[in-house]
């Protein structure tokens, strides 16, 4: 299932609506990189609230997406990591140290509105 990417002002909002296969996640990565250019986005919020699991592959891909966004001139924020998933990530050894995170869409958008 493709990930819908909406535009709101100069921000892209991508909402992952269901468990994704690795390939779908990689396609999402490439589409987002294109869309940043097409709409001249300055910020990207990726909402992972609906993801059932964030394993090492998914986490690595999210980090890659955030780094690509930066190279394309946009700040990325990952929002909606659920409590049990956060615990699983920490136990796996995954931390997203270098990636902006926020509780939910609202706080993610707020974070992007601050002067960068």
């Amino acid at each position: 299932m493709p990930v819908p990417i909406l535009k709101q002002g100069d921000t892209l909002i991508a909402t992952i609506v269901a468990a994704l296969t690795d390939r779908e996640l990689v396609e999402f990565r490439d589409q987002l990189a294109e869309r940043i250019g097409a709409v001249r986005a300055r910020g990207v919020v990726i909402d992972v609230t609906a993801l059932d699991v964030l394993d090492s592959f998914a986490t690595r891909t999210l980090r890659t997406i955030a780094q690509i966004a930066k190279l394309r001139g946009a700040s990325a924020v990952i929002v909606g990591i659920q409590p049990t998933i956060a615990l699983a990530m920490v136990q796996l050894g995954l931390t997203l140290d270098d990636v902006h995170t926020a509780l939910d869409l609202e706080t993610g958008l707020e974070l992007l509105r601050r002067p960068r």
Binding site: A19, D22, D52, S56, F57, R60, Q82, T84, A88, Q91
Partner: protein, 133 residues
Amino acid sequence: MSGIRVVVIERELDIVTARQAGRELAAENGFSPTDQTLIATAISEVARNIVVYAQQGEIVVSRVDERGRIGIQVIARDRGPGIENLELALRDGYSTKQSLGLGLPGARRLMDDFGIESELGHGTVVTMKKWVR
């Protein structure tokens, strides 16, 4: 409340199917939502290893009852190339594909019991358990 599910792993989509089967069985057997997620994540890691390193194999999740202790057992089995050095493979950050190398050591941390057997040229079997708290 059947006690066993077998998921054939040969495509990426099967990774999702396997972890969802594990989550359901865990839910049916009284695991907390937190533990359900930990189990599903561990299954995701070993299932992906089957797809990436062995192309095909299977995941068997089952309810176990050891002297009154209720738990869930996950067996990930393949006839792939096997693992040359198990000690290295279980180390954080070790990967022959330049990926994160957290799959096996991470799955081990997520579960209560963890065992792995592998023979070069013959395949790999990972056996993991988690107990209801």
